[in-house]
């Protein structure tokens, strides 16, 4: 019977083209929107983890309270010992210390007087060690626009936009004016070896990157760090494992009576993204629900129109003794086939376009010129297994639902009236 119905659909395009097109568009949009949201979310989580919080973040309790101000006077002292302990307790995890700092970057003229200067935020990471995960996490090599990576002490990278603003090029000397861990004003000379652009407005505006040992010396922070970040080895965040790790760490190391004892937090809590992530999840469900409802209404309408057009055909079928239920069943089967066909086409097209966006990305940097949030400016979609499944639910359900509602009319037809209706 399926073959028979399929032949009918293929021969009578008016029965299949419009419903298939409707399903195709709906599924295409669902798959694309789902993949896009997935990508945006993944980009956001990844950049938040890489540039801001890690999957797990360790800070002193005092530092954590004012973390957005980079209060290095409250930084953690005893990094080497804690790192050794972390590597022993949580093997396989990647732990890396960072120092976040603020200050002024001053460019001298030929008389060593100030030529230009501007406020900067800086990130000091382990750049020189061959085993350091930082170059990969921060994607520094790819972010370099001019010059090269620092190779030795006293070298820094600065934001490309910031470099243009200060009118400096790689090779120039810059003086960082900042505060030591103990609050004294400090100055340190650095050679600019290159400029970087990360595609994150807040990072690209005014940033300097340097090796952590340089900043530990400049800010009088020997064996100290603002934070120690932890990453899962495959770079994906696992909330359950992360929460368990944070609980066990805090049980062992956090001392409520010592504000300088370390505490561990998870990515959603540290970034303040937990509510946002929950909202995005709900948004995906809402978007799909809207498509299902809207498509069902459209397809119900299509079904009604089809039923009207096929009024005579259904009447004849009833008149020659075909059972109401059988006709209803064939209509449902037809719509299932249309749903599957439209869903396959829509999924392939949606996933295809989403894949192109995954590879090339969508540059929305013009929207985030003044953004202080650690969100990427270039958005990518993300095609996952879910992308190939998500479209079938609205694609098939809405077609079947539309036909099922429209087909109820079959049961309202009276056999005794058929000949009159058909004007036989």
């Amino acid at each position: 019977m399926i073959k028979f119905l399929l032949k009918g659909l293929m021969r009578d395009r008016s029965r299949s083209l419009f419903p298939v097109l409707t399903v195709f568009i709906g599924v295409f949009l669902t798959v694309f929107m789902y993949s896009f949201l997935n990508g945006v979310l993944a980009d956001m989580v990844k950049s938040t983890a890489h540039y801001q919080t890690g999957h797990l973040r360790i800070m002193t309790q005092a530092y954590a309270k004012e973390a957005n101000q980079n209060p290095n006077d409250l930084a953690f002292i005893g990094v080497d010992k804690l790192l050794a302990s972390l590597n022993e307790k949580y093997p396989g995890m990647i732990w890396t210390p960072r120092i976040k700092f603020g200050g002024l970057l001053d460019i001298p003229d030929e008389n060593r007087e100030t030529k230009t200067q501007g406020p900067v935020s800086g990130v000091a990471v382990n750049l020189f060690s061959e085993t350091s995960p930082e170059p990969k996490l921060l994607n520094i090599k790819k972010a370099i626009r001019r010059g090269r990576l620092p190779k030795q002490a006293g070298e820094i990278l600065i934001g490309d936009d910031f470099a243009k603003k200060l009118k400096v090029a790689p090779g120039a000397t810059a003086t960082l004016i900042s505060s030591t861990m103990y609050g004294s004003m400090t100055m340190a000379n650095f050679k600019i070896t290159g400029t970087v652009q990360f595609g994150i407005a807040a990072m690209d505006r005014a940033v300097i990157f340097t090796d952590i040992s340089d900043i530990q010396y400049a800010l009088d922070m020997q064996d100290a760090a603002s934070e120690i970040l932890g990453f899962f080895p495959d770079d994906n965040y696992y909330d359950k494992q992360a929460s368990l790790m944070a609980t066990s760490f805090n049980k062992e190391f956090k001392n409520l009576n010592d504000q300088f004892s370390p505490q561990m937090g998870t990515l959603p809590n540290e970034s303040g993204l937990s509510d946002y992530l929950a909202m995005i999840d709900s948004m995906a469900i809402i978007i799909i629900a809207i498509f299902v409802v809207a498509m069902s209404i459209v397809l119900w309408n299509a079904g009604l129109m089809g039923s009207l057009r096929r009024y005579g055909e259904i009447g004849v079928r009833l008149a020659i003794g075909e059972d109401n239920g059988h006709i209803y069943k064939t209509l449902i089967l037809e719509s299932t086939m249309i749903g599957i066909f439209g869903s396959v086409l829509g999924t392939l097209a949606g996933a295809g376009v989403a894949y192109l966006m995954q590879v090339y990305g969508l540059d929305l940097s013009f929207l985030f010129k003044n953004s202080a949030m650690m969100i990427p400016s270039v958005y990518h979609a993300r095609v996952t297994f879910g992308s190939f499944v998500i479209g079938f639910a609205p694609g098939i359900i809405s077609t079947v639902l539309g036909t099922a509602i429209a087909g109820i009319g079959i049961y309202k037809r009276q056999t005794s009236q058929l000949f009159k209706e058909l004007e036989v």
């Binding site: 006077d73 060593r112 505060s179 030591t180 103990y182 609050g183 004294s184 004003m185 000379n189």
Partner: protein
């Protein structure tokens, strides 16, 4: 005799009252005690921070209360760092970078060497009569010294501390205690003199505790090791060239 005693008793309050100078006079006397053609001060700052104690030693040359040069002598990390104040401009020199930087804008609000003093405090006109209108608010005893309490209100908007409450030694005309407030009435800083010393006929604080009320920690102790007034200081000391010497 009896009549003379009655007259004396009647006149006593008037005589006593006439001994209390006006608020304006008091702050003029306080200012006079500060003003000197030149000063050379060797001092120590003990910073009682959240993470422990730190000590910084410095030598300052001052001229006409307007210009000054401070050279940090210890600890080794700060040794050789210099600060030059010429009128309303402040430069700092770091020997590690061989750079001289003008401190301006928001940098002036930063703490000096992590202490409870800010660069803005250093830049203030030290003469109270130029900046404030005073009013006597009462009497008190501070470090066993009898003192007037004066309330000062800023004459100009741009002054860092809108109001001050000062306790002035009735005999020596030295400020023994000081509370500095913002325009909103929030207490910003407290200064408590703990010990005085007399140098060349002037009374000066030897040990004072500065406490930034908005900062955690137990404050910064300023101990004056030595002070010389009206010494002959060569002009080149108060030039930018002296920073790199």
């Amino acid at each position: 005799m009896k009549q003379a005693v009655i007259v004396l008793i009647l006149l006593l309050p008037a005589l006593l009252f006439s001994q209390t100078p006006s608020a304006e006079e008091i702050i003029k006397r306080v200012d006079k005690n500060i003003v000197a053609d030149s000063k050379i001060v060797v001092s120590k700052l003990i910073i009682h921070g959240r993470r422990g104690e730190r000590s910084i030693e410095a030598k300052s040359w001052q001229r006409n209360i307007v210009d000054s040069l401070t050279e940090y002598l210890a600890p080794p990390r700060e040794k050789g760092t210099k600060m030059l104040k010429l009128g309303d401009q402040l430069w700092t020199y770091s020997p590690a970078t061989d750079r001289t930087i003008l401190i301006c804008g928001h940098m002036l609000r930063q703490s000096v060497m992590g202490s409870d003093l800010s660069y803005e405090d250093m830049m203030e006109d030290p003469l109270l009569q130029n900046m404030y209108e005073a009013e006597i608010a009462g009497n008190d005893t501070v470090i066993n010294r009898s003192a007037w309490i004066l309330e000062l209100k800023a004459k100009k908007k741009e002054i860092a501390y809108n109001t001050r409450k000062i306790w002035v030694d009735k005999e020596r005309f030295v400020i023994l205690k000081e509370n500095l407030y913002a325009k909103s009435g929030t207490l910003l800083k407290q200064i408590d003199v703990r010990e005085m010393m007399q140098v060349q006929g002037r009374w000066v604080p030897k040990n004072a505790l500065y406490k930034d009320a908005l900062k955690e920690g137990a404050g910064t102790e300023m101990i004056v090791d030595s002070i010389e007034f009206d010494e002959n200081i060569p002009d080149y000391i108060f030039s930018k060239a002296s920073l790199r010497k």
